[in-house]
């Protein structure tokens, strides 16, 4: 198996077109809560710490997390918004499914295991491909350089370099060092997200 192969043609279908559903979106406004909802997709290689981060965001216990075979969704309330965060499994076999979840995304969070140097190239590749996806055009990107609590963790700046983040010019992006396990840095990332949302509102 070639290591850097392109996505195999995905199980069925084109990159999900954000469903037009004019009809439904109107009815949706009749939903109970007045809070505005946003869709955030949380991606990254397996073992990067996505699910841990998700649970951290939702203030849940992070000590008993098992590898994700499917996906998780949680809502996080922040600055008067309801952020629906989708954490999708990152194993290679699942990655072809990622793009089914990209439609109507307001913001992308990409999580990297900063101590897993061996896979920096792989993760950079995946990110590059993702950001080429039509549904994510112009969508702000937050990269979490996770697992900073480990001594072997590369600093965020180094990772940014490795990912060539500076070449991403078609969108706002930010890299944030953090430890999903301890929670450090996570709030800073969320603050950036909020600022993005606010900006977009204007």
């Amino acid at each position: 198996m070639g290591d850097v192969q392109k996505h195999p043609s995905t199980p069925q279908g084109s990159p999900s077109t954000p469903h037009p559903q004019g009809l439904l979106s109107v009815i949706q406004k009749l939903k109970g809560s007045p809070e505005q909802e946003l869709r955030i997709v949380l991606l990254g290689l397996d073992n990067a710490g996505k699910t841990t981060l998700l649970k951290r965001l939702a203030s849940e216990e992070v000590s008993t997390i098992t590898p994700t075979q499917g996906f998780n969704i949680k809502s996080v309330h922040s600055h008067g918004f309801k952020l629906n965060v989708w954490d999708i499994g990152g194993q290679r076999s699942i990655r072809p499914y990622w793009r089914k979840y990209l439609g109507s995304t307001d913001l992308l969070i990409y999580v990297i295991d900063s101590a897993d140097q061996k896979r920096f190239e792989e993760t950079g590749q995946e990110l590059a491909e993702l950001t080429e996806d039509e549904s994510l055009m112009g969508v702000p990107l937050l990269v979490f350089a996770n697992k900073q609590d480990l001594v072997t963790a590369a600093p965020a700046a180094e990772i940014a370099e490795g990912l060539s983040l500076h070449t991403y010019r078609d969108r706002e992006w930010q890299i944030q060092a953090c430890s999903a396990l301890s929670g450090e840095g996570v709030q800073d990332g969320m603050n950036w997200i909020s600022s993005q949302i606010m900006n977009r509102k204007k």
């Binding site: 069925q12 949706q28 998780n72 969704i73």
Partner: protein, 358 residues
């Protein structure tokens, strides 16, 4: 002029609200849910396969709405206008809109599907119980042994279910057409067929997880028979008239007491639905009523057909029957007992689920 517009908006909202409560909407929606709910379990993590099903659901909802709007001549603009007006909120309810909202809210959709799955399992158990409700002896402690007669009964029942499925579906089809034309209530016919119930039991199997695979292919009805017996052990056959209510929640008095403010073990469906607060009670009442009707019908049908086939004795043994689980007389192995225990716990959990979520 403003008044006229308002009247227009009102008409649009009411028309659509009516549509969403009628069979032309609820039958296909319920059918979809029944057909697809099998894979939805109550795990926090969602399976990738849910997403496909969700997309199908979105497509269905949109198609039904669009077709209807076309049919009654409401264009999209009018629709938008009507449903953006404050009237839309006051003249509809979350209960009415739930199945629509689920098309835009994955978690709501998942919740509905999980609930439907559980419901169908309970229905199946219920039906089995009703069939055998007059057999209190077989509800004895820890017993997992069928008498030969009981086993014969189960064979017959399975055969009946299989055979009557076709007839039943034809009947459903007929009623559906009738109902679609006529009154706007009770899409009870869509509560599936006996086949559906069996499907639901399969789910239970899959929900029990991998360690349930000691290599013995399970016979769905027999499985749930055991399950039901265990589960419903303390129950005596219910008095006529209440027995086909959908929820076996009365079987465990203590759960009920915990969960009901009244603490009364009444099988009043409406009352139960009411507990959840005003938001869902309307829809739930309707749903419970539908299920009740459905179960009544199904029971009557089974009663009749079963009598008939008992006289016909020799049944074609289909392949499934050969897969039947081992000899009924054998002592229960430890493993079997453990399995049974697990099932019992699952049953408890299911009941709790449904009671909680209703």
């Amino acid at each position: 002029m403003a008044a006229e517009e308002e009247g227009d908006v009102e008409w649009v909202v009411d028309t659509i609200a009516g549509f969403l409560q009628g069979p032309a909407w609820s039958i296909p929606i319920l059918e979809f849910m029944e057909q697809k709910c099998e894979v939805f379990d109550d795990e926090e993590e969602s399976k990738l396969s849910y997403t496909e099903i969700y997309k199908e659901y979105q497509a269905l909802v949109e198609k039904l709405l669009e077709d209807y709007l076309k049919e009654v001549g409401i264009n999209e603009e009018k629709f938008q206008e009507a449903f953006s007006s404050p009237l839309a909120k006051t003249r509809t309810s979350q209960a009415i809109l739930q199945t629509v909202l689920a098309a835009e809210d994955f978690r709501l959709f998942k919740k509905m599907m999980v609930q439907k799955n559980i419901e169908m399992q309970l229905q199946a158990i219920r039906i089995i119980k009703e069939r055998n409700g007059v057999l209190p002896d077989c509800l004895t402690e820890g017993s997992d042994v069928f008498s030969e007669i009981e086993e014969e009964e189960m064979k017959i029942l399975r055969e009946v279910l299989r055979k009557s499925k076709e007839e039943y579906e034809i009947e459903q089809e007929r009623k559906r057409t009738e109902e679609a034309r006529g009154k706007l209530k009770s899409p009870d016919v869509s509560y599936g067929s006996p086949g559906d119930s069996r499907e639901a039991i399969k789910v239970k199997e899959s929900m029990e997880g991998a360690d349930d695979s000691e290599g013995t292919p399970k016979l769905p009805l027999e499985e749930s028979q055991k399950y039901a017996r265990e589960d419903l052990k303390p129950v005596r056959p219910l008095p006529k008239g209440t027995e086909s209510l959908p929820q076996p929640s009365c079987t465990k008095g203590k759960d009920d007491v915990k969960k009901r403010s009244a603490g009364k073990c009444s099988e009043n469906a409406a009352q139960k639905a009411g507990m959840k607060g005003p938001n869902l009670s309307e829809l739930e009442k309707q749903q419970l009523k539908q299920r009740e009707d459905y179960l009544k019908k199904k029971r009557d049908m089974l009663m009749a057909t079963k009598k008939e086939s008992r006289n016909n004795v020799l049944l074609p043994s289909n392949s499934e029957q050969k897969e039947e689980e081992s000899s009924p007389k054998e002592e229960m192995s430890e493993e079997k007992q453990r399995l049974l225990q697990k099932r019992k716990m699952l049953a408890e959990k299911l009941k709790e689920e449904v009671i909680n979520k209703r």
